[in-house]
């Protein structure tokens, strides 16, 4: 209950500060609309916002799912093979040095204006945190467990599946928690560069037509969506993946 109350109190405080800025600065609504107007727009345009939010949500979920699977498999592959580590890791680090924002136009060129380019963007943004936190955890397995398994006559493959992977699941979980927050960023960037649907598209459209209230309404929906996604992933991680924690 305290958590809920604190959350509501915090939201009310934020809204109060927002309203205060509008009043004190005497800002016109095409610069900064007040919370009242944004709430009204949110209600009036609920169908448009919901339709576009659904598009973004699908992009994010597909990207997140693919990123989790690809990142998870990559981490296991890297942990299993020193050759793969030597060859692939520098490439991964280099790929992180490329600003992902700069890739968005290329992805749109290659994959078109539809779902695929946004999913790819979300995937690229979350792949590294998922891979790297899972990989780090896989490389930190308790050496004594590995010794015991070796004395028991275990193969490397079975040690990986029965000891290293389950022991590293909390690391995978922290990667997924980050991914839940990053994936929407990827999808939105993709939509900004080229789209005809989605919250990012709606925000650009509203901005261009000086409908700042609609832009804020979309932004709030996006933020709430991201928070819900993070909470769901967090719940999943705690119930399923963190069981290795003491």
């Amino acid at each position: 209950m305290t958590g809920w109350r604190a959350g509501i109190a915090s939201a009310l405080l934020g809204i109060a500060i927002w309203q205060a800025i509008v009043w004190i600065g005497d800002l016109p609504k095409f610069i900064l609309p007040g919370p009242g107007l944004v709430a009204e727009t949110l209600w009036k345009s609920r169908v448009t916002i919901a339709e576009n939010a659904l598009v973004t949500l699908i992009e994010v979920l597909v990207g997140l799912g693919l990123g989790a699977v690809l990142g998870g498999l990559s981490a296991i592959g890297l942990a299993a093979s020193p050759v793969a580590r030597a060859l692939v890791r520098p490439m991964l680090v280099f790929s992180q040095a490329v600003p992902v924002f700069a890739l968005a136009p290329i992805l749109t060129l290659w994959l078109g204006y539809g779902l695929l380019s946004k999913v790819a963007m979300a995937l690229i943004i979350i792949y590294f945190p998922v891979t790297s936190s899972f990989f780090d955890a896989l490389m930190r397995t308790n050496q004594d467990w590995l010794g015991l398994a070796k004395v028991m006559g275990a193969s490397r493959r079975r040690i990986m599946w029965h000891i290293r992977v389950p022991a590293a699941l909390p690391g995978f979980a922290s990667g997924l928690r980050l991914a839940a927050v990053y994936a929407p960023i990827g999808a939105i960037i993709g939509e900004w560069v080229g789209a005809s649907k989605g919250l990012g598209y709606l925000m650009l459209l509203a901005n261009g037509r000086a409908k700042i209230d609609l832009m804020f309404a979309s932004l709030i929906v996006l933020a709430v969506m991201t928070m819900c996604l993070h909470a769901s992933v967090d719940l999943f991680c705690r119930k399923v993946l963190d069981r290795a924690d003491h």
Partner: protein, 240 residues
Amino acid sequence: MSLAPSLFLRGDAKIGDALIFEGIDLTVTAGQWTCLLGSSGVGKSTVLKLFAGLADHVEMTGAFGAEDGPLEGRVALMAQSDLLLPWLTVAENVSLGAKLRGEAPDQAKIMDVLDRVGLADRSGEKPAALSGGQRQRVALARTLMEDRPVVLLDEPFSALDAKTRARMQELTAEVLEGRTVLLVTHDPGEAARLGHAIKVMTESSLRDVAPPTGDVPRAVDHPDVLKIQASLLAQLREDA
């Protein structure tokens, strides 16, 4: 369980440039408890790791192994930490070896070994629900489940409180009877209770000490046990 072999180790060991021990000549008699006693850092654990096949980083000049052939696959290991996997149940931890070798776990045998360590009613629980002593009993059950003729014990009782330790020593001596056991310890009392043979290890020597009379496990308060314990402690302090 196949017939328990004698073990031997002769020679010098180095890790990188650091000398761990030299001129060691150790025999572990078949079917008996040999206690290897010494201060920290004299290479007791290295001896154990060599026998366990976990000493890839150690440069060994000399020879070690079983008198009757290769040792691989005939050794079970029990360490100071219970090494239970927290995400598995007690029963799953006990049968970990089978799982890691891709064999079907023998359910009846799992229950039998858990029964022998007095934990048959806890088989479905996770290790976190158990006390330190109970967890170490699960580790003992896992060791029994492996059913190997040679058992290497690396200070398995040192993290337990005095009462639990005494009981674990008795239980372990009872259930491992007939196997070749090498116990590495820094506790003179433990060596005096459990050793058919007691060896005090220093960086440059290995000294045999006559064990107390009587069957293993000997009573904690037996005068002979107390006397040997005191003499072992005196020797350890001299060496330091």
